[in-house]
Symmetry: C2
Subunit: 347 residues, 2 copies
Amino acid sequence: MTTTLPTVRPPTLRDVAREAGVHPATASRALNPATRSLVNGETVTRVQRVAESLGYRPNPIARSLKTSRSATVGLVIPDLTNPLFPPIVRGIEDVLAPAHYNAWLVNTDNDPDREDSLVDSLRSRQVEGLIVATARLQHPLLDRLLAEGVRMVLINRRTASGSIPSVTADDANGIDTAVAHLARLGHRRIAHLAGPQDTSTGVVRRRAFLQAVRDHGLADEPGLVADCASWTEDEGARALRELLDAGREFTAVVAGNDLLALGCYDVFHERGISCPLDLSVIGFNDMPYLDKLRPPLTSVRVPHYEVGAEAARMLLEGLTDPSRHPRSILLPITLVERASTAAPAAS
Amino acid sequence: MTTTLPTVRPPTLRDVAREAGVHPATASRALNPATRSLVNGETVTRVQRVAESLGYRPNPIARSLKTSRSATVGLVIPDLTNPLFPPIVRGIEDVLAPAHYNAWLVNTDNDPDREDSLVDSLRSRQVEGLIVATARLQHPLLDRLLAEGVRMVLINRRTASGSIPSVTADDANGIDTAVAHLARLGHRRIAHLAGPQDTSTGVVRRRAFLQAVRDHGLADEPGLVADCASWTEDEGARALRELLDAGREFTAVVAGNDLLALGCYDVFHERGISCPLDLSVIGFNDMPYLDKLRPPLTSVRVPHYEVGAEAARMLLEGLTDPSRHPRSILLPITLVERASTAAPAAS
DNA sequence: CCGGGGTCCGCAATCGATTGCGATACCGGC
DNA sequence: GCCGGTATCGCAATCGATTGCGGACCCCGG
């Protein structure tokens, strides 16, 4: 009977080699599919059998040190609790996993300083690439990283230059679809709650909105657009109140995203506004459980899982084939019609 | 003018040492707060200055290899897209970060095989401990890990033996509070949608429900409890339909969690049931955006962020002080009263 | 002037795996 | 029987940082 030692050190490659009667180098080659052909077939099976019986598991730390590959990518997002991101993260992980890559997640809370130090820590962890969801139009950190040759892919948002590969939804098309839907219902005066104008999503959707109202021959007044300082319910509520208090006339609002739209719901409740009777609302992103809201929120659906998956694929491509030319892709959106939009009340 | 070389190798400790005119060992000690006292003060500042100017960043891989500490813990959850988990993850990360630890996240999708291989991969990544949110009452994998001395903390759910340290909400108290609330409103016949009976949350809440209805002198009939095979909207809807179709009489339902409660909403819509006029509902967890539902869902609030934070703290304690005795803690719950509960209609 | 005790620092081994290079053996061909 | 070639495998360096041990040196008391 073999008694287990008090501290069982996990077996190393040396242990396997010794047990199999070969040099560690040979054991290494036998266990590595890429170099296995350099070793005699019988030796390979012997080593494998020993490795199996000893429960040998290669130490990825040691391997990383030697090969200087960490098999991890950094994932920089503002805040995981924003329901937007979990599906994206899943998409990323589901693509990375088969490639034996892992994602390292950090939350910046939209704080550039925090972002700086977090990216720093990611890099010191030797991540091989970055997937970044916090891009601002002017983003010195990202410029620097690009200059340093750090592999990365932006998601959701882009920088002004557009020189960094990215995966985003077709924002402009989404807004146009939303406006078209409202126009078809009979709305002529539509307001827009624009997101932060230091993000590409904010400005692209804002610009697309202005373009869309012109294209559809609707009321085209600057006063119908209110800017929000952040993508939060509070800001959405504040902006809508601002429009209302300024006496703007409109029968529908296209919110820059779902959270801004949720802020509108608060105002509806607060001021006894009936949605969609008095006011129609459209969100953007189609985050989970929107169908359970009061009323269910019409929204522009963005394929978040695919955004993540596509970004991960693109990053992996860039890592395995550095010559690969960077590109940016737009993913198609769809309008999900629910009960927060209806024909305007006859006035 | 200094021209940058095409490939700039990040500076190593050797580079710093050479530049500062000392041995790498000395540089290492100078840079490490714990051993800094062994080095002359002037030397320390000189090394630090050089390190700073060269932009030296210690290679954590090399360090891990030598110290055999990875500074990472594994986080095993069923599915990140369940809104329950993001706050937990944040809580964990916010505690881990100051300790310079990181979390490695995996989604099991409630698939034991997947879980097996994912835990395997985590262990081969040398995680120092595990935070596990997928515990089932009978859980061979966890038993094995425990026997192997793997440090871990369970969250949300526990195993039957209870011998693994855990952080959970005070489920029993939560259910009792929910039932008490309904009783106070005048409900006498309350149904319960019980979660999967292979999880501690499922059985604890179920048992607590039966106890509570007895304690409050309410209708105590086995027929008023319906089991759900999973914590999903679909199962919640199915279970409620089952109760309805069986002709059970009840004026309120205590759902095992919020998702089951959301399933009830689908049935309300489907069958023209008015909530809370015809039927009151209480959820469990108080996941985000419940206040925006139609009607806003009354729910038992669980401090998810704290669950994560507490679990991370406990795991860190166990890692730094292995002699520390394992314990399990219950976090207090609170009832969040919203509009899905009201007095029963006079019959 | 010698020895004990500190302070400061260098030497070299070590963590575990990978890999370029060289050594050995064996094979077939001439 | 000799030689170029190939198949296998071992040697040793290497990745970058940490750390036990010991050496050099200085100060001071006896």
